[in-house]
């Protein structure tokens, strides 16, 4: 069963169609020339830009382009015919557009238009490869990065085939073949197989190739390029192949089907084969043996004797290695069948048109088809002195040097076509001429000639093209009935239509001339009038009725004339001004701290109408200290007394208990609520008292906040504590447990912005006016008042520590033979610290304490085997490594948040090991939901694992404290996120505890970690990305710990500010001061960010302003300015030069990807908040403009 070629198209420099190709081939013309000036100009700045922006600088000495066979234009496209918007066309790879065009034309040539193809089992096969470094997508994404997403469907290789299938509703296979230079020929083989296997009834195969920027550069050469762009296959002077550009396509059908359908048959593919070189010297080295096998396989497949071949279209890349190997392969293969000499002409179209790489195979096939059809053997171009290595005389082949007849008295003419891929995939086809039997003549009479086009311009072009075709005797010997049949079934599906009733070619010529002269359709009279009228009205017509009674044939006619417009993004000539290459490598410290620094008294607006409600615990001295500072008319409610006279008693036991207070706040219009319950003057002496205080003070604030939020209250919440915060390092008598309220307070405002929190920590010496000022001032966050001194939190850099790697050498803080307790010890951070300690001091004992502990050692082997990749296995392996390093490891399953159990565990360790020499308190539970939905038990558990554990640890080691205690705290104690109320409270406690203990026998240090990048809680919860801070690599985190333990500091904040990130501005939204150094750097980066945004806005505005679009669709033709500017925003997205004011966004070709950009542009250009949802609701220029005006008006009226 053979396959027929029933349609063709080819476009090459100066070549439009098969006849042009024959002209070039038959005259031995070479199309090599310099890179066209216009394209050179369009690209040169882009090349300079590329050179300027490589990491390894390229010396930009000037631009030199390879010569080659280049197309004049690759930047134009008829978007309408292919169902695109102008904008989509711009964002589509030129290859993509060329392949579409080539396949469309080949289908048309085969007698198929959209109507005839819809729903058919037609396959689409494209040979293509993206070539790294010079794709249109690279170019697009540099010129207009914001378009990248929109550009995806126009630049994914698969879409080359898929878009045509989609556009024409073709249901056969649709795929792209990439085998490098043999791709299109392999695609033909695949298509043939698909036809023979019944996967489809018709197939179109195509390919295209342009050279995006053929700049001469030593690094980009692959070793097959000709020095002067001229391809001299088989010539002594051959030194490689020249670049070629163009596209080609063929339409294939099973031969009997083609005959039944009345198709024109260009040639018949008798056989084909594809193989691979296998293992050769190198992946790009060809193999004559494999090539010979390929030919033999193809001949077997075709069932022919190779002695009957008269022409051989060689791959022929004109390289010193490739040509002799190809020649050798051909000789070997022929030698298996015949010893005859010089009977088969050989040549390659590459010498004429250059190498189209992936597209070259189908061009070679098309050349073979023209040779078969003309029955002439063409001279090989650029062939002057035969390559002596090839020795044609001793083989079956010869190279024609002049055009000569091809006689084949024995039977049909046959040709072979080869293409070899750079990676070793080879393809060969055997093609045979087809001699059609002349058709029976049609009966005389009128026939209906129809033509159509997508635009009036195309239609005019088409009519002119037909006139030229008639002038050139294109219809000589062709039956007018077949001409009309062909135009009806393959040229008539478009919107703009003409119809003529004709009896012959002269009649046709007169009709066309008339149409061109009058510019309008004359009425069609006679028996064809009804069909003509229906057709002209755009209604479906069943042409089979007109074709009845005779087997019509498809004949060759002029191709469609595209109405092309520019489809290219211009490279901005101003790129040098708009980009800055001097991006200094900035370095910022990883380590920070929060200091309490003196601050001036706050400004209080004297007009402030404060309504204060103070909540006090009568068991403390809060009322005595606070009452004088309260403004007149303030309310005061004591714990244990009625909230309102005769009302419910104020207690902090549960959120419901605080509802009456929230009600009071609402009723009394309270503006300042002072929460002064946590006013104990001495630290809790034992766990029982600690429990009582956390329940009353911390849980009380938790419940109060929930009650206030639930009531939708808006007020200043002042949390007043007495010496809970260590005002300086080592301050004695600090009531550390009450400092947890600071952390909780920091989170409230981040969850519910109407509750603004200030935390005042005072001592009894605070002057009354100072206290009152701070109660009422609009300054939030933590303020520490000690007598006259006023301190505020400031976030500072600690640059003197450079913890990039863990320091080598001994660790002064680790004792030989010491015992070290790590809480959270089987967690990722705990184990990382354990490993670090073990590496530095293998002779220590590590006690790893965690809630889960570790399974008994005898079960390990089984557990490891059961789930070797599971999290438990990872922990077990880590522990085993510690043991192997020599460390004595003890794992304890104890909940650090359970004071009794944890206290006993610490005591037991001390008994068994004599002393605990150091502690890393890494135990912790993550925070959960926001306060409104947080249950007290969950809140409490998070707090306990840190706060209660630290308290118990200190109490249990008081007699013989460790050398150090390192508390793992968090960024949440300084810059918390919503949902971290408990976590922030617990960690603030740790920070403050460490500061209070500074200078003591035990080195207590708190380490505030930002998210660790590779391990730990943040990884488990997927929050280990860069935010305001860069996520911390494990090695850096461990180095910070090491530096901290060496330093004697009471705190280190471990995390580098992410100055380049989008969240930097959030840093200023916290009620924590920034040091002048940090503030300056932040300001600099935010300004740069603002400037970038402003430039982007300005760019959008100027780009939109430059759009020229005409509005239409309203009778009176009056459009508002807003409509005009909205239209420009839409036109920019679609590329239309006219827009109907009532046209729907989606009907215009919009999609949801575009909508975001368009909505943003509308918002930017009109200065109104306008988003995708608005656009998707409005959808037309008129509606959008109406909405935009409303928004603008609202903005003005609301000031």
């Amino acid at each position: 069963m053979s396959v027929a070629i029933v349609g063709t198209s080819v476009e090459l420099p100066g070549v439009d169609g098969l006849d042009d190709l024959w002209r070039v081939v038959s005259t031995g013309t070479s199309l090599t020339r310099p890179f066209p000036q216009r394209r050179r100009e369009a690209l040169s700045e882009y090349v300079h830009y590329l050179r300027a922006t490589t990491v390894e600088p390229i010396e930009d000495t000037g631009l030199d382009f390879h010569h080659g066979c280049y197309l004049d234009t690759v930047d134009s496209f008829d978007y309408a015919v292919f169902g695109m918007t102008p904008r989509q066309a711009v964002l589509t790879d030129p290859h993509h557009r060329m392949v579409l065009r080539a396949m469309f034309l080949a289908l048309e040539d085969a007698g198929y238009s959209a109507d005839r193809l819809r729903g058919s089992r037609t396959g689409v096969f494209v040979g293509f490869a993206t070539n790294p470094g010079s794709t249109y997508m690279d170019y697009l994404s540099r010129v207009e990065p914001s378009a990248s997403q929109q550009a995806i469907t126009g630049n994914i290789p698969a879409m080359l085939a898929n878009r045509l299938s989609h556009l024409l509703d073709l249901r056969g296979p649709s795929l792209v073949v990439d085998t490098a230079c043999s791709a299109t020929l392999v695609a033909v083989h695949q298509a043939r197989n698909a036809l023979l296997a019944g996967d489809c009834d018709m197939a179109v195969v195509g390919g295209a190739r342009i050279v995006f920027a053929p700049v001469k550069h030593p690094h980009t050469a692959i070793g097959i390029e000709s020095s002067d762009g001229v391809t001299r296959t088989f010539d002594e002077a051959a030194d490689g192949t020249g670049f070629g550009e163009g596209s080609g396509a063929v339409v294939l059908k099973r031969t009997e089907q083609a005959l039944a359908d009345g198709d024109q048959i260009y040639a018949v593919i008798r056989g084909s084969a594809v193989n691979h070189d296998g293992h050769t010297d190198g992946i790009t080295s060809p193999s004559s043996e494999s090539q010979a096998e390929l030919l033999l396989a193809a001949w077997r497949n075709a069932g022919i004797d190779p002695r009957t071949l008269g022409y051989f279209e060689a791959h022929g890349t004109a390289t010193r290695v490739g040509d002799p190997i190809e020649h050798e392969g051909m000789k070997q293969a022929f030698a298996r069948h015949t010893s005859d000499r010089s009977f088969c002409a050989v040549g390659t179209v590459k010498a004429n048109v250059g190498h189209l790489f992936e597209g070259s195979g189908v061009i070679g096939l098309l050349k073979a088809v023209t040779v078969l059809r003309h029955r002439m053997l063409p001279p090989q171009a650029n062939y002057v002195t035969p390559n002596p290595k090839l020795d044609f005389a001793s083989g079956p082949l010869f190279v024609p040097t002049a055009l000569r007849p091809w006689d084949s008295p024995q039977g049909p003419r046959r040709a072979g076509v080869s293409a070899f891929g750079l990676g070793g995939t080879n393809a060969h086809l055997v093609v045979e001429e087809y001699q059609a039997t002349p058709p029976p003549p049609s009966a005389p009479g009128e026939h209906l000639f129809t033509l159509s086009a997508a635009t009036p311009r195309s239609l005019t072009g088409l009519l002119r093209s037909y006139l030229r075709f008639l002038d050139e005797d294109g219809l000589a010997g062709v039956d007018i009935a077949d001409v009309c049949h062909t135009t009806r079934v393959s040229r008539s599906a478009h919107r703009y239509r003409i119809a003529l009733a004709v009896t012959g070619t002269e009649d046709l010529r007169r009709g066309i001339e008339g149409l061109l002269a009058d510019g309008r359709q004359p009425p069609v009279e006679g028996p064809l009038a009804a069909e003509a009228a229906r057709y002209l009205r755009g209604e479906p017509v069943d042409w089979r009725a007109l074709a009845a009674g005779r087997d019509h044939r498809i004949v060759r006619l002029p191709r469609y004339v595209f109405d092309e417009s520019t489809a290219w993004l211009d490279f901005p000539q101003t790129w040098r001004q708009t980009m800055s290459l001097e991006r200094a490598a900035e370095r910022h410290p990883v380590t920070h701290d929060v200091e309490l620094r003196p601050a001036p008294a706050p400004l209080v607006d004297p007009t402030t109408q404060a309504r204060v409600l103070a909540l006090v615990d009568p068991a403390t001295g809060a009322e005595a200290l606070l009452a004088p500072a309260l403004p007149p008319g303030s309310l005061l409610v004591r714990l244990g007394e009625p909230v309102t006279p005769g009302g419910e008693v104020f207690d902090t036991d549960g959120v419901a208990a605080l509802d009456p207070l929230a009600q009071l706040v609402e009723e009394q219009g309270v503006t300042h609520l002072v929460y002064a319950l946590a006013f104990e003057d001495t630290p809790a002496p034992d766990v029982e008292e600690l429990e009582r205080r956390t329940a009353k003070n911390l849980h009380g604030l938790f419940h109060l906040a929930k009650a206030l939020m639930a009531a939708g209250a808006k007020l200043d919440l002042v949390v007043l504590t007495r010496t809970a915060v260590a005002a300086r390092e080592g301050e004695p008598g600090v009531v550390t447990e009450n400092a947890a309220l600071v952390g909780l307070g920091k989170v409230l405002v981040r969850e519910y912005p109407y509750l603004r929190v200030k935390h005042l920590d005072v001592d009894p010496a605070v002057p009354v006016p100072a206290l009152r000022a701070d109660l009422l001032a609009a300054e939030y966050g933590l303020t520490v008042l000690r007598g006259d001194q006023r301190l505020r939190e400031v976030f500072v850099e600690v640059p003197e520590i450079e913890p990039t790697v863990v320091a080598e050498g001994p660790r002064p803080y680790l004792r030989s033979g010491g015992t070290y307790l790590i809480t959270g010890g089987t967690g990722a951070l705990g184990l990382a610290v354990a490993r670090d300690f073990a590496t530095a001091r293998p002779d220590i004992t590590l006690v790893l304490l965690s809630r889960s502990g570790l399974p008994p050692a005898e079960e390990w082997a089984e557990l490891l085997a059961a789930a070797p990749e599971g999290p438990l296995a990872g922990r077990l392996r880590a522990v085993r490594e510690l043991t192997e390093a020599g460390v004595t490891v003890r794992a304890l399953a104890v909940d650090a948040g359970d004071p009794k159990a944890f206290g006993e565990a610490v005591t037991r360790i001390r008994q068994e090991h004599g002393r605990i020499d150091g502690v890393v308190h890494a135990a912790g539970l993550p925070g959960g939901s926001t306060l409104m939905f947080r249950q007290l038990d969950d809140f409490d558990a998070v707090v306990r694992a840190k706060l209660h554990a630290a308290f118990v640890l200190e109490a249990a080691t008081r007699e013989d404290p460790p050398d150090f205690v390192a508390h793992f705290s968090s960024v949440a104690s300084v810059f918390p996120a919503p949902g971290q109320a408990d976590y922030a409270a617990a960690n603030y406690y740790l920070d403050n505890l460490a500061r209070a203990r500074a200078g003591g026998d035990c080195h207590v240090i708190a380490l505030d970690w930002v998210a660790w990048k590779e391990i730990g809680m943040a990884v488990d919860f997927g929050t280990n990305g860069d935010t305001m801070f860069k996520a911390l690599p494990t090695a850096v985190g461990l180095a910070v710990l090491d530096a901290g333990l060496r330093s004697g500091r009471s705190r280190l904040f471990g995390g580098e500010l992410n100055y380049g990130g989008d969240l930097l501005h959030l840093l200023r939204s916290y009620d924590v001061g920034l040091s002048p150094e940090i503030e300056a750097t932040v300001a600099e980066h935010l300004e740069a960010h603002q400037a970038r945004l402003a430039r982007a806005t300005e760019k959008i505005r100027s780009t939109v302003a430059a759009v020229v679009v005409r509005l239409e669709g309203r009778g009176e033709g009056e459009y508002t300015d807003t409509e005009a500017s909205v239209a420009r925003c839409l036109a920019l997205a679609f590329g239309y030069d006219r827009l109907d004011v009532e046209a729907d966004f989606f009907d215009l070709g919009g999609d949801s990807l575009m909508a975001a950009t368009v909505a943003n542009n509308i918002a930017v250009c009109h200065g109104v908040p306008y988003d995708v949802a608005d656009l998707l609701a409005d959808r037309t220029v008129a509606e959008i403009a109406y909405h935009v005006e409303e928004l603008a008006e609202y903005d003005v009226s609301s000031g």
């Binding site: 939708g712 919503p978 609202y1194």
Partner: protein
């Protein structure tokens, strides 16, 4: 919508056709004129399908349903299922309700997710806008706001600034369940006053008050319903307090999803 359902209840379907003056089955299953997007047609259609599905459910599961509740239009179905209103009466009201509601245009509605209703209320108060209101309290962190289209858009931006909040526009024609619907209340009330509210076989929890509905106050509550927020959270809390543990949803799963998001 409702394909196969109408055949099971030919008499009720015929009654609906007679009241509405068109084929309810054609509207629901084929909608040849694309009318279902129109409130005037959508409300009777949803009501009838709900009512038939409710009948089917009660027939299939003959266990007792002591409590009924419905969200907005669904409240009419709850009343019918509980035997407080008969089908024909309710359909006549629903039809008029749809017409009246459709007569108020220029409104917009947005769903707010991620923050409690109290936060939304406070944010609305802070904007100072008079023509945008809380319209549904659907779940702990799921509400809707509605009102004048432009004001809803402005309020949406303000609410979006709340941590965790997401505001998504909903495609409705009017400012339903806000005071902006007040103009239609008197006429709806007049229609409701002609209806007989029976004692019924079960308790209906009102989505206006969130409390059990006394049949006598039916006309007042149902009239007020179009201009008052849907208190779904309160209704569910009342039902749970009354011992309800299982919620069977007659049509779809939207309300079940909301119930699951109420603590």
């Amino acid at each position: 919508m409702g394909a196969g359902l109408f055949g099971r209840f030919p008499e009720t379907t015929a009654l609906a056709d007679e009241i509405l003056g068109y084929s309810i089955e054609e509207l629901c299953t084929r909608d040849p004129d694309r009318k279902l997007r129109d409130t005037r047609y959508a409300q009777p259609a949803v009501f009838v399908v709900n009512a038939l599905l409710g009948r089917q459910r009660i027939e299939e599961q003959p266990e007792e349903y002591p409590f009924f509740a419905g969200h907005s239009l669904g409240e009419y179905n709850a009343l019918v299922a509980a035997g407080v209103l008969d089908f024909g009466t309710a359909l006549r009201v629903v039809r008029r309700r749809g017409e009246l509601m459709a007569s108020i245009t220029g409104g917009g509605m947005s769903a707010v997710q991620g923050v409690p209703a109290a936060f939304v209320q406070r944010a609305l108060r802070e904007t100072g806008l008079a023509r945008v209101h809380l319209a549904n309290v659907n779940a702990d962190t799921q509400t809707t706001i509605a009102g004048d289209r432009v004001e809803v858009a402005v309020a949406a931006k303000a609410i979006n600034a709340l941590p965790g909040a997401r505001v998504v526009p909903i495609n409705v024609s009017g400012p339903f369940h806000t005071p902006l619907m007040a103009p239609v209340v008197p006429e709806l009330r007049a229609v409701l006053d002609t209806c007989a509210f029976a004692a019924g076989a079960g308790t209906v929890v009102s989505s206006v008050t969130g409390e059990a509905l006394e049949p006598a106050e039916g006309p007042e509550l149902l009239a007020r319903q179009v201009c008052a927020p849907v208190q779904w959270v309160r209704a569910v809390a009342t039902l749970r307090a009354a011992g309800v543990t299982d919620f069977d949803e007659v049509n779809g799963s939207t309300l079940s999803a909301l119930v699951a998001r109420i603590q």
